[in-house]
Subunit: 197 residues, 4 copies
Amino acid sequence: MPKKIDHEARKQEILQAALKVFAREGYRNSNLSLIAAECSLSRPTIYQYFTDKEEIYHYAVKLVTGRMFSKYVSYVWRDPSGEVDKLIRICEDIIDTADANNIEISNLVGVMIQVKHEGRDFEGMIMHRTAKLSILFKRLIRSGMANGVVKSCDVDKVAEQLMVLLEGACLRIAFFKKYDTTQDKDIIRTFLISFKK
Amino acid sequence: MPKKIDHEARKQEILQAALKVFAREGYRNSNLSLIAAECSLSRPTIYQYFTDKEEIYHYAVKLVTGRMFSKYVSYVWRDPSGEVDKLIRICEDIIDTADANNIEISNLVGVMIQVKHEGRDFEGMIMHRTAKLSILFKRLIRSGMANGVVKSCDVDKVAEQLMVLLEGACLRIAFFKKYDTTQDKDIIRTFLISFKK
Amino acid sequence: MPKKIDHEARKQEILQAALKVFAREGYRNSNLSLIAAECSLSRPTIYQYFTDKEEIYHYAVKLVTGRMFSKYVSYVWRDPSGEVDKLIRICEDIIDTADANNIEISNLVGVMIQVKHEGRDFEGMIMHRTAKLSILFKRLIRSGMANGVVKSCDVDKVAEQLMVLLEGACLRIAFFKKYDTTQDKDIIRTFLISFKK
Amino acid sequence: MPKKIDHEARKQEILQAALKVFAREGYRNSNLSLIAAECSLSRPTIYQYFTDKEEIYHYAVKLVTGRMFSKYVSYVWRDPSGEVDKLIRICEDIIDTADANNIEISNLVGVMIQVKHEGRDFEGMIMHRTAKLSILFKRLIRSGMANGVVKSCDVDKVAEQLMVLLEGACLRIAFFKKYDTTQDKDIIRTFLISFKK
DNA sequence: TATGAATGAGCATTCATTCAT
DNA sequence: CATGAATGAATGCTCATTCAT
């Protein structure tokens, strides 16, 4: 029997390599040769796992966005603090994560902006991820209102504005080389506290 | 007198052409051929005005950023309304301008993200432009405090947070294909009104 | 008893698959992957039956030419009509067969032309096949002369010219996308009838 | 003023080089590198004269077919002999030309057969050339009938059959490595003489 | 015997840049 | 000063072939 390789695992390896290359060389200067070298494969071999270069970029974006927003949905329910504090903690954690993965986010944004012109469906992918987060926010706000710790307000609007503030913070992190997130956190904290009863 | 060509004017023409091409083709699909064609010059001729392709991109960014933030500094003083209203109006105008120039901004951000990796000084350029705006904000806030229409507050911090909110809005405009700026304006308005006496 | 695979049968399967692929994709766009897929084998397995790609093409040609000209030698003797009519019928049948297998013939000719440059022995192969047909023609002409239904003539020359006309028809069928064989049949019929006594 | 090159002449050079390469290497083994080397240009330079590889092949075919059939239309009228003899002479000349350019014709046919699958318009191109020849044939036959040296006959049909015989001869020349055209000429001569009054 | 995995060699094409005129 | 011509260097991609299992 011939050697059998876990295709999914190998795909992940290639994507990790791609992200490393993106981070090191910048999205624009990346190419399949560099990615192949990074994961110690020959260029043609990569074509056994992805149909073309764009597919790699596509899944690389997916990987990063998935990593960014997925963890909160599960862990938040084990947090005993009040809803507003929970919201603050989640937002600050997201900002810190983005800050820690500065380069990765930056590449992600670069890819997205490039791709905007080509009319591809990356954006929908991101939307899908962030939609989950938005739902979490709404649930927490409603729960807070039910528990009497959050003022009565337009839940949808507040959640949307929270997303807007968060996205702004992430984009600035991507955009500026050295960025101090203090003000972002402060704005969000003030914004959220203003809804505390 | 021999025919003398205004180098600076010709440079501007080339940059305008470059921006048109960026907007039409997307930053990523742009090249010197297209830019040369757009300004009805031959490719080699461009090398008499810019040393290489990257320099064109560099100055194109400069051009856009300059255009973005320069007008407010002068016209604001002719506005008779209160300082907070002035601030609100300026911010909304900036957002509307960015919204109207969506594609240009988007390309600008794309270029910026790309060059972030190459360690060039674009960022400083932007910082310089925005610093002027920040100074304007501070002046207005102080003036409002002096006139008794703005609460006492940490001027630097408030101005900085205002910049943070504005940048966030501009980046989101660049990032999303179709973007509704209602929430951004609402956040900024609420933020500013909270400082009204 | 260990499972024993009939090598020759498997070879034939592969060749049939190759011909199918040639017909579907065109000779030029064919490759080992497609052939392997067509006969549900893996690409490397094919190397156990043929030393390289060219060998497959070689035998595929052999297969087609064999199929083309072999059947007449046997069935003709059961036909009770006069020799000239027999000849006409055989020629028309060959043309109809070629017409019905248009694509196969076309690929065959394509392969032949290609390998003409490589100095291989395909041509001899074809010659061998057609020689049999030529012998059949001569036998019929002589038999017709003996029976008094065919004019006295140079048997070798007439047979050769008949072959020339037939080959021409087959080549045109291969060459043109939609080809009407009426004129070919008419020419051959006229040609043959002119030898009728 | 910069060096100005005759684009059309350079195109012809490249096509000549392409035909040489086709003849030397066979159509299938040809590529842009070889063609570029043959005309002492770099590969990219060729793209200044042809948009892609296929275009070169396209025009190369055109060149050969043009060369094949163009000369008869003009020179035939200076020939004082009777129409049937003229027709015989033209056909024999075409066959001799094809025979002398064996390799070129062979490549031409190879290209055509390859291209048949791709549904391109090469065939129409050939048709156009041969249509002219067919018209010439018809004119001569009619003229012969008017002069009383050609039997009354279906002009269109006779011309078509003559074309069929000629095409057959050319295709066989292309197909076989060493081909004796005696029988082809003999068949055509006999065919034509049968229409002499 | 059969086959997943891997790759070297090769191809068409693009593009920034240089040079001679 | 301007530009037609030319090209080196890459880049994405294909495919026949080999090898280890």
